[in-house]
């Protein structure tokens, strides 16, 4: 390197980006606090990093992954695909038609799991689904058949689908179909059953199964006719708007649900069905403040699917829980799951329920955080602290902290109170390991005992060990 090439490199401007001509240089510090103090003593502007060592035992893997020359561009590509992905509600179909789901096969939330290790709510939901499909006459029989291995289980994520809480999907259930035109992909999610005793929280009593039958016979066909007649509907646009109306898209979907209803109503009202059925379908949909969640989730799934499979990328493309294990998948490591024991959420409880009644974290709904909303957009939804616990400064801090572990700021999803800053989007495994900051997830809490239903809502993080494990796999994938 010579003076002439260095001059050429910066087009004749002062070398070192004008470092020596700065009137009073601004300094960022990391490490010994004494040096920041010494600079402040000279009236220098200092920004001090609250630096902490990376997660224990990760030094070798970090060095390998940081030296991966593909990573910067791979992450930029994965991120660009994530935020470019479209999400239009184009169809509503039964799972057997949408996913080719065979009779006797059931999808569930989270990473793969065998019956013996399943938690109460997931077992309960599967029992309910077996009953709903008419594959057993009563709960005992259903449980016996499930335990005997007569049915097949598979994660929703393995079929490009997502399911809230237990996330159990059976062939007769109706599903929303969302399409990403940009990347030519589809994602599917079941219809929301409302709150209280519902299958997704592990309840399987007669009222639960009866409701599922009504949804199959009445609601599903009406929604299909509505969407086919008046769709497609741009779900991302609703997401962008609801964040500016106090929703975060995971545990608060009030504005989103109303906007969705506004889109669907004309088609529902004019659908070929009895006026009683239409009235009931509209009432059911309008009464459910989480009506939109089952659209927001597949929209997020399309975004993370688009970002998946970029060699060298360390961005997280799945976070999902089955009530026993929490699993993540990463863009650059293919279909491998990196799992750890699911944490139990901390939060507020319904009625007389308390912490001992809560099941560990469950559901595919953490796809919202994976795509940059939900807990990551908490600052947009200060009212949520009344539901999940914490206080408003916490909500503001949660979103701002997530910028430390994300690649970019979402161009569409914005937080008004942060001056319309884009939500933190694209969790980087490397940043999580380096800072020790875990993704913030807002979630509902299922009862520990099968059949209970929802007991509360709260805040949770993934188990830390998922991230060093994913980092190690990224390290192994670095070309020699």
């Amino acid at each position: 390197m010579t003076a002439s090439t260095s001059t050429a490199a910066n087009g004749g401007a002062a070398p070192l980006r004008g470092l020596l001509s700065a009137e009073s240089p601004t300094v960022a510090t990391a490490g010994v606090g004494l040096f920041a103090d010494a600079l402040r003593g000279q009236a220098v502007t200092v920004v001090e990093a609250d630096w902490q060592p990376p997660m224990p035992g990760t030094e070798g893997d970090l060095a390998r992954v940081l030296a991966d020359t593909r990573r910067a561009e791979a992450n930029a590509t994965a991120y660009a695909r994530m935020v470019a992905a479209g999400a239009e509600l184009c169809d509503v179909k039964q799972a057997k038609d949408a996913l080719g789901l065979e009779r006797g096969t059931f999808l569930h939330a989270g990473p793969p799991i065998e019956w013996e290790r399943m938690s109460g709510p997931l077992k309960g939901a599967l029992i309910g689904a077996v009953l709903f499909e008419g594959l057993a006459d009563n709960a005992e029989e259903a449980e016996k058949a499930l335990a005997a291995g007569q049915f097949a289980f598979e994660p929703c994520h393995h079929r490009d689908a997502v399911g809230p809480m237990a996330g159990v999907v059976s062939p007769s259930m109706w599903m929303y179909g969302l399409r990403d035109e940009v990347h030519d992909a589809w994602s599917w999610c079941s219809l929301n059953e409302g709150l209280g005793k519902v299958l997704r929280y592990g309840a399987y009593g007669p009222e639960v199964v009866d409701r599922l039958h009504w949804m199959t016979d009445v609601l599903g066909p009406i929604l299909q006719r509505s969407v086919r007649a008046t769709g497609p509907f741009d779900i991302r646009s609703i997401l962008a708007q609801m964040l500016q109306m106090g929703d975060e898209g995971h545990n608060r979907n009030r504005a989103g649900s109303l906007m969705l209803l506004r889109e669907l109503l004309p088609g529902m009202i004019t659908a070929k069905a009895s006026s009683d059925d239409i009235a009931q379908a509209v009432r059911f949909s309008g009464a459910n403040e989480h009506f939109f969640l089952n659209l927001g989730m597949p929209a997020c799934k399309l975004a993370t699917m688009a970002a998946h499979g970029v060699p060298g990328s360390s961005l997280v493309t799945t976070m999902a829980r089955n009530g026993t294990d929490f699993g993540i998948r990463v863009s650059g490591t293919g279909d491998a799951w990196f799992t750890g024991p699911a944490n139990t959420p901390q939060g507020l409880f319904l009625g007389d329920y308390g912490p001992d009644d809560a099941n560990p974290d469950i559901g595919d709904s953490a796809i919202t955080e994976t795509a940059g909303i939900g807990g990551f957009a908490m600052a947009a939804a200060p009212a949520i602290v009344k539901f999940v616990g914490g206080d408003v400064p916490f909500a503001l801090r949660a979103t701002q902290t997530m910028y430390e572990i994300t690649f970019g700021e979402h161009p569409m999803y914005q937080v008004p109170i942060l001056d319309f800053r884009g939500t933190p989007t694209g969790i980087d495994v490397v940043s999580v390991v380096r800072t020790g900051i875990l993704p913030q997830i807002n979630t509902g809490m299922a009862g520990r005992v099968a059949g209970t239903g929802q007991v509360g809502a709260g805040l949770v993080t993934p188990p830390a060990e998922c991230f060093p494990a994913a980092l190690a796999a990224l390290g192994r994938a670095v070309p020699a």
Binding site: M1, T2, A3, S6, A9, N10, A14, P15, L16, R17, L19, L20, S21, A22, E23, S24, P25, T26, V27, A28, T29, A30, G31, V32, G33, L34, F35, A36, A38, L39, Q42, T45, V46, V47, E48, A49, D50, W51, Q52, P53, P54, M55, P56, E59, L62, A63, A72, P393, L396, R397, Q400, T401, Y403, E404, I417, S431, R434, T435, G436, I437
Partner: protein
């Protein structure tokens, strides 16, 4: 019967310098007999063990240990309370008001948050390269104080920096001054036309302090790291720094300060410097080349300045010249000052053993013991793993001063003391006590031990040159601003010096 308390706080990280200060605060609490607040690194667990504190299994380098022993429960409680308030005071500077963004957690995030020109990185060495690479990618120049950074990482960082048109000052860079802003350890000196490029921290400080004493100021002092002029690094940062200073209107000439460089690198660099269009002078240590003081004197003469009488405070009542048996014992915090003294002393005494030896066969063993002449650099990488630099934590050197005082083969003690930003706020008081103690111990052993201190500092430094020198002189030490003059004075006592 005293009461012992040990608790481990998982994932509560604080830097070693902060914890050193917290430990001292706790140890000073009434009723506390011993205290240590430290991260549970291997070294610290050992230290805690030797202090009689058992650290529970499973505690690791990311966990904080609070260990207190006191006469009674009240003393322990007072100690813990003091630790907590000291730790809280530290983190209080970090937290803001309602809705404020939390403090950034990585160097790159801090650079972005403040649109910073420079990132000053002093995290433990094994984590430093990642932080530095990020800062470079964000467009900031880096001062890398961290040591124990592998040389291949250094080369990688410097190549990335050159491509991004930023400068990496370091690793193991203690000193830099950019447009009057002192980074790390640096002295308060006037502004002036001399640009400095320094592959040496304390060497650069010695040069800027001598210039200051001669009434000549500096424009910038760009550190480059102690290995920059070695073959493995090939003066990557020095070339960038020289080019930047050559283009800087406030700089009219440059001096390059370095620990002994590799010859080929120096030869190439001299050729490179010849084409820059401004005078470049050399204070690059090595056999047959001038010491730091003489290099500054040559620079002053070439620039048309008068060479002043360097400040000195010579003790009364020391033994006559050439009358002392025994060997030279140089105990240094500054590596370049140690090199400077060692080169001068080798001319007079022959071989000198050291942990930073002039020749490989002169290396000291791990115990750092020898009956002959020796010079120890307590700031060397090998002695700073898991602990703070001796300019912040002087414990090891203090212990060695006491050991030399009772060692009959020690003829004269040569010490350095570096003042300025970042250094201990009152280093002279502690050192004066140690010197008084050492002289006393030697007298009890029937010896008269001369002590010579080379003080690198200026009157404008927070600690003050004269004030510091007078405190040391009152303890019976001879004090010199010039490291050369201090070394020569120490040598003058020895009968073995030629």
């Amino acid at each position: 019967m005293s009461v012992t308390h040990v608790d481990v706080r998982r994932g509560a990280y604080h830097d070693s310098v902060t914890l050193l200060q917290v430990s001292r605060t706790v140890a000073d609490v009434d009723g506390v007999e011993a205290a240590q607040v430290a991260m549970a690194t291997e070294l610290n667990v050992e230290v805690l063990g030797s202090m009689g504190f058992d650290v529970p299994e499973g505690a690791g380098a990311n966990d904080l240990v609070v260990a207190v022993r006191a006469a009674d429960d009240a003393g322990v409680a007072a100690g813990i309370a003091a630790a907590e308030s000291a730790l809280a005071a530290r983190s209080a500077t970090q937290s803001g008001g309602f809705g404020d963004a939390p403090a950034p957690r990585t160097t790159a995030a801090a650079v972005r948050a403040g649109d910073a020109d420079i990132a000053l990185i002093s995290v433990p060495g094994r984590f430093a390269a990642a932080e530095a690479l990020d800062a470079i990618a964000t467009g900031a120049s880096v001062m890398l104080f961290s040591d124990n950074v592998p040389v291949e990482d250094e080369v990688r960082l410097k190549d990335a920096a050159a491509a991004a048109d930023v400068l990496v000052m370091g690793p193991d860079c203690g000193t830099a001054v950019v447009s009057g802003v002192a980074l790390g350890f640096a002295n308060v000196v006037g502004a002036g036309p001399i640009g400095m490029v320094a592959a040496s921290g304390t060497g650069a400080q010695q040069v800027m302090c001598l210039l200051d004493a001669a009434g000549v100021g500096i424009s910038h002092c760009l550190g480059v790291g102690g290995r920059d002029l070695k073959n493995a690094v090939g003066a990557r940062s020095t070339r960038q720094a020289l080019a930047a200073l050559a283009a800087d209107p406030s700089t009219t000439s440059v001096v390059v300060v370095s620990k002994p460089p590799d010859e080929e690198v120096l030869t190439d660099l001299e050729a490179y410097a010849g084409g820059l269009g401004l005078p470049v002078r050399w204070a690059t240590l090595g056999a047959g080349r001038p010491d730091l003081t003489s290099a500054v004197e040559a620079l002053l003469e070439a620039e048309g300045h008068e060479v002043p009488q360097w400040p000195a405070w010579v003790a009364d009542g020391d033994p006559a010249a050439g009358s002392v048996e025994g060997s030279l014992r140089g105990l240094f915090c500054g590596g370049t000052l140690a090199d400077d003294s060692m080169l001068l002393a080798a001319d007079a005494l022959g071989d000198i053993r050291s942990n930073i030896p002039l020749r490989d066969d002169l290396a000291l063993g791990a115990d750092l013991r020898d009956d002959g002449h020796l010079v120890i650099d307590f700031g060397d990488d090998g002695l700073t793993q898991g602990r703070a630099h001796p300019m912040i934590d002087p414990t090891l050197r203090m212990e060695r001063i006491a050991a030399e005082a009772s060692d009959p083969t020690c003829g004269v003690l040569l010490l350095d003391l570096v003042l300025g930003h970042g250094a201990h706020q009152d280093p002279a008081g502690e050192l004066a006590d140690a010197i008084r103690e050492a002289k006393h111990t030697a007298r009890d052993g029937g010896r008269h031990l001369p002590v010579v201190v080379s003080v690198t500092g200026t009157e404008s430094d927070p600690q003050g040159l004269t004030r510091t020198a007078e405190t040391l002189a009152a303890a019976g030490a001879s004090v010199f601003l010039s490291n050369r003059d201090a070394t020569r004075h120490a040598l003058s006592f020895l009968g073995s010096a030629r």
